[in-house]
């Protein structure tokens, strides 16, 4: 988790632009460009594609996400909750004699404990994902770019944020241009 790089733009200064946006036409171009940007050592940048491009993660050098840990913990909580709920309500708080059976039996408790595990874990997965991705976030500087609308259809982009420590208006633009982009534009914050 520590290595997660929150992709935010909150701390942008109004004067400075958000960053530079480069458009690509093919997966290959995107991946190749990504590798370059990665190798240049940029940290506050991201690439965009209408679908999950295999290999792009490696190309960008992303670490494994901590989502599984969240989900596991959520699931564990659910399981314990399910068991305790059944044990306490039927076994401790108001015990009934039902069909002469013991007040609490593990086999009987399994189905509900299981369902609770799944339920909690599932919420963990969705909310965890949204949380780590900083979603929902309806406003974002990139949405100002008309070009960027095709990011969800058939075009591929790389955006390097101005807030990146080694960002330099000219160098970065040059870099983006010669990694095979079809267009590079500046996106204001």
């Amino acid at each position: 988790m520590s290595t997660e790089i929150p992709s935010t733009g909150e701390n942008d200064v109004a004067a400075t632009p958000f960053g530079l946006l480069a458009e690509f036409e093919t997966v290959e171009a995107l991946v190749r460009a990504a590798e370059r940007v990665r190798d240049e050592g940029y940290t506050r940048w991201d690439s965009y594609a209408p679908f999950a491009v295999h290999g792009l993660d490696e190309a960008m050098g992303l670490d494994r996400t901590g989502l599984p840990r969240i989900v596991f913990l959520a699931g564990l909580t659910g399981c314990i909750f399910g068991l305790v709920l059944q044990w306490w309500t039927n076994g401790v708080n108001y015990p009934f004699v039902i069909s002469g059976k013991p007040l609490f039996g593990l086999p009987v408790a399994i189905p509900i404990a299981f369902e609770m595990t799944i339920l909690f874990a599932a919420f963990g997965a969705l909310l965890g994902m949204l949380g780590l991705n900083g979603l929902p976030r309806l406003h974002h500087p990139l949405f100002k770019s008309e070009r960027f609308r095709r990011a969800t259809t058939d075009r591929f982009f790389i955006a390097i944020e101005a807030s990146d420590p080694i960002f330099d208006a000219q160098d970065t633009r040059r870099l983006l241009e010669d990694v095979g982009s079809v267009a590079v534009e500046e996106v204001e914050a």
Binding site: G134, R137, L138, H139, F143, E146, R149, T153
Partner: protein, 222 residues
């Protein structure tokens, strides 16, 4: 699609990014709110406690049970024998009022009833649902004081409900009667206080009288 110059896209204003914290707060806050409303708003404590209907005769328990110090059982004389602590017949009132306050305006319904034989129509204050079968005699017999359920009647001018009379409330006592038990002889003593520790006394009484109240459903529901 986009290529055929469609209008500029709608940009959500920046403040919409407060949506995320907003949702979280709303979710948590809403949960708390509902819980609070349900636990306190709908509980019998809120709904039923304090119910104080208007009675045909402004009979004052404070005066009779309190100042005059009449025993509950003088009027509610069936409480030790039967399930109900019967509302006394007009007769009982007249035992005294034949000679006391015979001119009182307030008592006209009583005098009329006595004369005509038509009953005085009191309004029930402590009204359990009809599927609850509560038996006064056994509780009184085991040393559950009147005050435990009816409160300090001897301080009320008009009787009002002071306990929720909810199932959970009944269970509290059925699970731990020692909190309320006292020597059966003293059940009607409204202001009685144990010399020592109530719990100690209660536990001791439980032992001597073998008081193990049942929490089976059929104890109260049939």
């Amino acid at each position: 699609m986009i290529r055929d110059g469609s209008p500029n896209r709608f940009l959500f204003p920046k403040w919409t990014n407060l949506l995320r914290p907003g949702i979280v707060i709303a979710a948590v806050g809403g949960l708390v709110y509902v819980t609070v409303i349900v636990t306190f708003g709908f509980s019998p404590k809120t709904i039923n406690v304090g119910y104080k209907p208007q009675q045909p005769v402004p009979f004052s328990h404070r005066l009779h049970a309190g100042e005059l110090g009449m025993d509950c059982r003088y009027c509610h004389n069936t409480v030790e024998r039967t399930a109900r602590a019967a509302i006394p017949p007009t007769q009982t009132c007249m035992n005294c009022h034949a000679s006391v306050r015979t001119k009182s305006e307030k008592l006209t319904p009583v005098f009329q009833s006595y004369a005509t034989g038509m009953p005085v129509e009191w309004v029930r204050v402590h009204d359990l649902p009809d599927y609850v079968y509560f038996n006064h005699s056994i509780h009184v017999d085991r040393g559950v004081p009147c005050v435990a359920c009816h409160g300090r009647i001897d301080t009320m001018d008009e009787v009002r409900q002071v306990q929720p009379l909810s199932m959970g409330w009944c269970l509290d006592c059925h699970r731990a009667p020692e909190k309320y038990l006292r020597p059966p002889a003293l059940v009607t003593k409204m202001d009685w206080q144990p010399d020592g520790d109530q719990m100690a006394l209660g536990r001791q009484l439980r032992k001597t009288y073998h008081i193990n109240p049942s929490t089976d459903c059929i104890t109260c529901h049939r």
